[in-house]
């Protein structure tokens, strides 16, 4: 294992634990964003080819799209309450 992969992996694990420990839904999204950075980086480092890079970019853009949708829904749900 490379030191670069170890650093990213440790941060990813730490984020996964913090997502479970945080109560607030909005703050979970911030940790989730950091986790998607880690996953996207790990995809690129493991799938060591240009296609891996495209997969990493697609994954990252889609994850921000879904975070966008979730945050929007949280705001709407607050109005309904």
């Amino acid at each position: 294992m490379d030191i670069v992969e170890i650093i990213i992996g440790v941060i990813a694990l730490l984020m996964a634990i913090r997502i479970f420990l945080t109560r607030s839904r909005a703050r979970k999204l911030l940790y989730l964003c950091c986790l998607s950075f880690c996953i996207s980086a790990l995809i690129a480092l493991y799938v060591d080819s240009p296609m891996g890079g495209i997969v990493a970019i697609t994954y990252f853009v889609c994850s921000t799209l879904s975070s966008n949708a979730i945050a929007y829904t949280i705001e709407q749900a607050k109005d309904i309450e």
Partner: protein, 164 residues
């Protein structure tokens, strides 16, 4: 030579941090929430004692691929394909921005500047270290301590005349 590698990661992290924070602040991320979801996150950060403008900054990072995403994706593509990869990443980040209803200047310019920086520094720090450096940089903002991160981002925004 693990120590040398760790130093390279940390230096790359500092460069990435400055790159994305300065570009995002310049393009006004702390000024207002770009989408409705970013407003919720900003208000939540204010509720735990942070700065609202820092909160908007963090909310905007979550809700749209801006300079932080541009920095990560351009370093990934520079590692895999060289300079051309950085340009492809800039194009894809721009498409992602358009999907999130964002003008998309911050992400594209962030991707282009980090591609130039990686190209210039490639004899000393390889692109691989920039990937880990960017993860480290986003960890200090989004994953470590939201209250103090937002206060720091608010101070930088104030210094650059973006948001009060």
């Amino acid at each position: 030579m693990e120590i040398v590698e760790i130093i390279k990661v940390v230096v790359a992290g500092i460069i990435c941090w400055l790159n994305f924070v300065l570009i995002d602040t310049y393009f006004g991320l702390p000024e207002k929430p770009g989408v409705l979801g970013a407003k919720t996150i900003g208000e939540k950060i204010r509720d735990i004692g942070g700065n609202i403008h820092g909160g908007y900054f963090m909310g905007n990072i979550v809700c749209s691929p801006d300079a932080s995403a541009g920095t990560l994706l351009a370093s990934i593509m520079s590692y895999l394909m060289g300079v051309e990869g950085g340009l492809i990443a800039a194009l894809l980040v721009w498409i992602g921005n358009r999907l999130c209803a964002d003008p998309g200047y911050a992400g594209t310019i962030g991707a282009l500047t980090i591609t130039a920086i990686i190209y210039l520094l490639s004899p000393i720090i390889e692109a691989k270290y920039f990937i880990a450096g960017m993860v480290l940089a986003i960890f200090t903002i989004q994953g470590f301590e939201h209250k103090y991160a937002s206060i720091l981002l608010g101070k930088i925004a104030k210094k650059m005349n973006r948001g009060e």
